[in-house]
Symmetry: C2
DNA sequence: CGGGCGGCCGAAAAGGTTTTCAGAAACGTA
DNA sequence: TACGTTTCTGAAAACCTTTTCGGCCGCCCG
């Protein structure tokens, strides 16, 4: 059975075809379809009907050529594998998806040459704006000031303060984690985290220490346990910690992976979570956090929201209201069962 | 300090500017830059130099308008969150990224209406082709036969056999897993897997049973343990399994999540992996598999390669060689430490 | 020396749309 | 009736590039 699909313009049908069918000129057809006022209602209706009948959809390339606006933006990510770029990308795609702009996805694989290549291609396609999503929350080189379109940096801030960058709040996240543990009545709080070469590790630790000192508390175990972003390190560090400081009553892990290792060892040692020791993670990597035993309280950096805001800021810049500097997006606490008030 | 608004500078430099600087006509400039033969070497050099000097990049919209090829493809995914669409998307982006086509990313969030909306937008942008990436390996409705551009379905096959679909090999993967266990000398093999409502669960089980019957082996535990795609189910099922069938020497888990639960209980029960019981997972979800204790042998469905092949097939179709039917992409075994020969 | 030919270049059309501006039609006013 | 005004429509330019085709020039051959 032949059904003509109304959403499928079969052969490129142009405005000229619509105009001919409606018995008007292309100029009038254009105005009718775009809601311009200088066209009689009756005429407009005729044009609209013709357009529907032919299932006309305007050639965006031609529109872009004349309006000098392609209605597209480029999403330049340096690391699609990285789990951090994906939610940001989702948020951005989501924020644009609703209105009439489409998104070009480019993955530079962390390679500066490839990035230049993609940048060139995107400019050649006359994108109206760019979002640059980094793989690590550390500073990255700016694309430069003389680009013909506005740029927003997400996750990795640009090294040029004249650019607009959006970053996660690692300091605030660390503070938030410790604050939660304190509110649960914990006083002997340890911090096990990842590679000290990551700014994120340093920032989270800084936030944690800041909140502790407000309460005149010291870190249980005497210091921050830097190491690696892995379960194995979480296990090893926990064993050492328990030896040095057996009366610890809360552990703030610098990532959910590390937290999984922590939980694992506590389980082995028959130390109950959360009644004896509370554990809090970081990142809210659902697959790890929600499936942990017990499910893991953790800090969510709101990456998706970061992506959405990046899209909004870019839209504003494209409309002539550019921003600059570094904007920090707050995180939020996700409470599960690995933390609870004492007693 | 006041800096000039970064959105203000570079007015788009056109071919006309290049031509003027080189002292030729736009026609000649075009031919010179595109390697057309009817232009003297000296003239060509002059044009190229001018283009570089102005850092000219051709307006792709105008090119697309005249060549009737936009040099873009649409990537229509139904579920960006899902971990399966991401690698496919990466592979596709990668395969295109090298040459001169750019990729529009659209996430329909599993909503048919949004999908129609995006489809319309993409066609309006005159994409040269479409890749539709599903969220589940089950059949999905075709976009229809009367689209003006070729389409390739990835992961979720289309319900129209005239379309070209690429899918993962779940049957082969199940067979591969069991084959590996048999080669390790295991004879009492159990299978714990996820939701029986998923075709993937059924297919993997079918492959496993097929390989077992070739060896005249029965499934340890007597049946396939269907349940949920979670660690908790992996734990629960393993406990029941050990009770009913204490002499099991290998467990094939239907996903890495489930495998993590399996490992967890075996560890609790002081049953050594792999010397006493071998464990194999499925999906090669690195964060789970590589960090397990011991690191998990698992089946990788080669999703990234699936994406790459989808891109290749689409390119072929755009060049006039369309395909149809369902093409199955084989998986591969990733050997880690949770399996080993007996003795 | 004239005609033919090959090499090189430019004018112009085409692609599909938006926008400006002039003109036509209808209507009201003097 | 003549004229101004309002309302609507269409011709044409513009956006930027590619491609076709005709023209110019110098050269070779007869």
């Amino acid at each position: 059975m032949e059904t003509t699909n109304p959403t499928a313009p079969n052969r490129a049908v142009t405005l000229r075809d619509v105009a001919r069918l409606a018995g008007v000129s292309v100029a009038t057809a254009s105005k009718a379809l775009n809601g311009q006022p200088q066209v009689r209602a009756e005429t407009r209706a005729r044009v609209v009907r013709a357009a529907e009948q032919l299932s006309f959809s305007p050639n965006t390339l031609a529109q872009g050529l004349i309006t000098q606006r392609s209605g597209t933006v480029g999403l330049l990510t340096s690391d699609l594998e990285g789990r951090f770029s994906i939610p940001i990308l989702m948020g951005a795609e989501d924020a644009f998806g609703s209105d009439q702009t489409s998104v070009f996805l480019c993955d530079a694989r962390g390679d500066a040459i490839r990035e230049k290549h993609h940048l060139r291609a995107l400019l050649s396609r006359r994108v109206d704006g760019l979002i640059v999503v980094g793989a690590r929350p550390d500073t990255r080189p700016s694309l430069g000031r003389d680009l013909p379109v506005p740029v927003v940096y997400a996750y990795s801030p640009s090294d040029d303060p004249a650019d607009l960058s959006l970053v996660t709040d690692n300091v605030g996240g660390g503070r938030m984690a410790v604050d939660h543990l304190i509110r649960c009545g914990r006083r002997r709080i340890a911090h096990i985290t990842g590679d000290p070469g990551y700014g994120a590790a340093q920032d989270r630790a800084r936030g944690a220490l800041g909140r502790l000192s407000e309460e005149n508390l010291e870190l249980a175990g005497g210091e921050v346990w830097f190491g690696m972003w892995s379960e194995a390190w979480g296990r090893g560090a926990t064993r050492m910690l328990l030896e040095r400081c057996p009366d610890v009553d809360a552990i703030f892990a610098g990532s959910d992976e590390i937290a999984r290792g922590v939980l694992d060892v506590l389980h082995e040692e028959r130390i109950d979570v959360p009644s004896q020791v509370a554990v809090i993670g970081f990142d809210n990597w659902t697959i790890l956090a929600a499936n942990a035993r017990p499910p893991l309280t953790t800090v969510d950096l709101n990456l998706e929201q970061l992506g959405r805001i990046a899209a909004q800021r870019l839209s504003a810049a494209m409309d002539g209201t550019p921003g600059s500097g570094v904007e920090t997006i707050p995180g939020r606490l996700v409470t599960r069962e690995s933390t609870a008030p004492l007693r």
